[in-house]
Amino acid sequence: MSMPVSPEKQSTLSTVDILSQGMVINVGPQHPSTHGVLRLILTLDGEQILHCEPVIGYLHRGLEKMMERRPYRHNVPFTDRLDYLAALSNNLGICQCIERLGGVEVPERAQYIRVLLMELQRIASHLVFLGTFGTDLGATTMFLYAFRERELVLDLLEECTGARLTYNWIRVGGVPDDLPEGFGEKVLGFVKTFRQRLEEYDQLLTRNRIFRSRTQGIGILPKELALAYGTSGPVIRASGMAYDVRKAAPYEVYDRVEFDVPVHEQGDVWARYLVRMEEMRQSIRIIEQVLRDIPDGPVQTKLPKVFKPPAGIAYSRIESPRGELSFMMVSDGSPNPLRVHIRAPSFVNLSVLPSLLEGTKVADLVAILGSIDVVLGEIDR
C-alpha cells in the first residue's frame, strides 16, 4: 500500500512509485451513499482505496453549548435533532441523565412505556438501515419494502406521541401521558404482520447469493480493534463482543424482560447486517413481554416548577439503535446545566471507518459505511 506522495518528493522516486500515486476523490458531502453530509477524502489506485480521511462537522449546530443556556427540561427537544432516526432514544438518554442528577424516581408504568417505545423505535431505525443498505448495494426494492413497514411503526408512534420524527415525548420523571386506548392491540397487530415481513426480507436479501458475496468477508473489524476504538451497538456485537448496555447496565425495566443479545464472530458487513436483523426479532420479543406485564399506575412524577438539581456530575447510558448513547451533565446547582456532553455512538463508530476501508474497493465503501449505519445529526451535534 503506497501513500500519495508530494510533488517535491516525486522527482526522487522511481517510475514505479510515481505510477502508484493515488487519485484523490471526494465522496460527499453531497453523495447518495454518505447518509447525510459526510465527506470522505479517498485516495484511490484504480478501484482500490489506499487511504480514507473522514471530514465531519457540516451539520454542527453547537447543541451542547445551546443546552448550557436553557433550563434542564427545555433541552429535551434538542435531542430529537441528534439521531433523527431514533429521536425517542435520545429523549430517554437526556431524561435519564437529568433524573440521575436530580434523583428523580420514575413510576413503574412509565418505565414500561419507555421500554415499549424504545423497542418500536429500534425497529423503525433498523428498518431505515435495512432499506438504505439495500439501496447502497443496488437492491432498490428493499428500500420501499422496509419503508412500508416503517410507516406502520411511525403510525403507531404518531398515535401515541403525536409526531412522526421528532417526538419529544419522554419527559423528565416519566412520560407526559398514558398510552392511547387500544394501543396494545394495535402494536400486537403490527408485530404479527412484521414477523411475516421479516421472512420476506430474508427471502429478498438474506438468502440472495449476490447479496452474500457483496457482504461476506468485507470490512472485517477484529474484536480487539472494535474494543480499542470504543465502538458499540451492532458494530461491536458483530465483532464477537456481547456488549449491550441493556444487559451490561440495565436501565428502566430491561432487567425484567427476557431477550438475547445477538452476537456474530466474523466482524464483517454480513455479520453487522445479521445482528440488526436479529435485533428486530428480539425487539418484538421485548414488546410482547412489555405489553403482557405492563402494570397500571401513574406515568409522571410531580416535579417542581423550577428544577434545580444539586451540584455534581451525572451520566446516563442507553442502548440506542446505533450503540451506546451517553449523556454527561455537570450541574452547579443553578437551573441551567453547566455542561452537557453527548457521547454519540455514530461519532465513535465512524472513527473506525478509515482502518476498515484501507485496501478495499470503492464498491465496498458503500457497503461498509452502510453497515456502520451512521447518522450525521448525532456525529456533528
Binding site: L137, L144, I210
Partner: protein
C-alpha cells in the same frame, strides 16, 4: 394512393433510404418513451406502489412530459471538459443504437436494410456504444465519470466475448449470418430455443445482455449509490436525454435481437407477425426489469471474474457442441 407513394420512393432508392432512416431514427427516439413507461409501471408493481398515474391515462404521458422537460433544460458543460468529445459522446451512443436497428427484421420484409452479414454488423456497431461511454466518462473532467467509464469499458468488453460466442452458436447452427435468414430458418424448423446447445447459448446471451445494457446486477458503470451516476454524471438536458434514450432503445434492441435469434422473430400463430415481434420483445423486457428490481449489484472484480472464468469457457464449449450438432 399508398402504392403510388411507395412506388415513387422505390423509383428513387436514395430518397427511399433517407425515408427509412428518418423513420428508424424517430422510432429509436420514441421507443424509449414506451419502454420507460413500462419500466416505471413494472418497478411500481414490484415495489408495491403505483408508479406514474396522473399525466395521461395510467400515466402514459409521464415520460413524454419528462422528455420535454429534458429537452428544454439548460445544456451545462463542465468548465474543464474536453468539449469536442463531451459534445458528441451522446450522439455516438444514439447513432450506434439506430444503426443496429437498421438490420432488425420486425416482420417479413419489414427491415430497413437487408444485409447478409447482419449479425456481424450488429456486433460491430454495438461496440460504438462502449466508445461513447468511455468518451463521456473521460471527457467530463469528473472523477466519478472517469471511474464509471473505466468500469463500463472493462465490463462491456468482457461480456461482449461470451455474447458473441453465444450468437455464433446460432450462426453455425443455422448456417446464416443474416437475421432474416435466421428467422426464416426458425419459421421452417421451429424455434431455436428448443435446441439444447442453443438453449445454453440463449441463457448466456441473457446474462450478457443484462451486462451490455447496464442493468442490475451489472449496473456498475452508473451505480448511483457509488458513482453518483457514473459516466453520465455531468450530462444534463438534451445530451443526457440522448444517453438515456439510447440506453432504453438498446434495451429494446437487445431483446428484439434475442427474439430473432432464439424465439423465431416474427413467427407465431393467428396474430400478425409485427405483433408477435413486439409481444416477445416486451415479455423479455419485463423479465429484464424483473431481474433489475430484485437483486443487489455485483462488484467489478466479481463481475469480471464471472465473465472470464465462467461465461467464456462455457460459451466456448457450447459453441463447439453447436458446431458439431449444427453440421448436417
Amino acid at each position: 394512393m399508398i402504392e403510388v407513394v411507395v412506388q415513387f420512393f422505390r423509383d428513387y432508392p436514395l430518397l427511399w433510404t433517407f425515408v427509412k432512416a428518418v423513420v428508424l431514427a424517430s422510432f429509436t427516439l420514441l421507443i424509449p418513451l414506451a419502454v420507460i413507461w413500462v419500466e416505471r409501471k413494472v418497478a411500481g408493481f414490484i415495489q408495491s406502489r403505483l408508479g406514474p398515474l396522473h399525466v395521461g391515462p395510467q400515466g402514459t404521458f409521464q415520460t413524454v412530459a419528462d422528455a420535454l422537460k429534458l429537452l428544454l433544460k439548460e445544456d451545462i458543460v463542465p468548465s474543464g471538459a474536453d468539449k469536442r468529445f463531451f459534445y458528441i459522446a451522446p450522439y455516438i451512443a444514439f447513432i450506434s443504437t439506430v444503426l443496429s436497428f437498421m438490420v432488425l427484421p420486425f416482420a417479413p420484409g419489414w427491415v430497413a436494410l437487408e444485409m447478409n452479414v447482419a449479425v456481424l454488423f450488429v456486433i460491430g456497431v454495438s461496440l460504438f456504444n462502449v466508445v461513447s461511454i468511455l468518451m463521456a466518462g473521460w471527457s467530463s473532467n469528473n472523477k466519478y465519470s472517469l471511474l464509471g467509464g473505466l468500469r463500463a469499458v472493462a465490463q462491456l468488453l468482457s461480456y461482449e466475448i461470451p455474447m458473441v460466442l453465444s450468437v455464433l452458436a446460432v450462426v453455425f447452427y443455422t448456417g446464416s449470418l443474416s437475421l432474416t435468414g435466421i428467422v426464416e430458418y426458425q419459421v421452417k424448423h421451429g424455434w431455436l430455443i428448443w435446441q439444447p446447445p442453443i438453449m445454453i447459448a440463449a441463457l448466456i446471451y441473457f446474462i450478457c445482455a443484462l451486462a451490455e445494457i447496464n442493468r442490475t446486477p451489472f449496473d456498475l458503470p452508473e451505480a448511483e449509490s457509488e458513482l453518483v451516476s457514473g459516466f453520465n454524471t455531468e450530462y444534463s438536458g438534451m445530451r443526457f436525454a440522448f444517453f438515456f434514450a439510447s440506453e432504453f432503445a438498446n434495451n429494446f434492441f437487445i431483446t428484439a435481437f434475442a427474439a430473432a435469434l432464439f424465439f423465431g422473430g416474427w413467427d407465431g400463430p393467428i396474430l400478425p407477425p409485427i405483433v408477435w415481434t413486439f409481444l416477445k420483445v416486451f415479455v423479455m423486457i419485463f423479465v429484464f426489469m424483473w431481474v433489475r428490481w430484485t437483486p443487489p449489484r455485483l462488484r467489478i472484480d466479481q463481475i469480471l471474474r464471472f465473465a472470464w472464468q465462467f461465461l467464456v469457457p462455457v460459451s466456448l464449449v457450447n459453441l463447439l457442441f453447436a458446431i458439431v450438432l449444427g453440421v448436417r
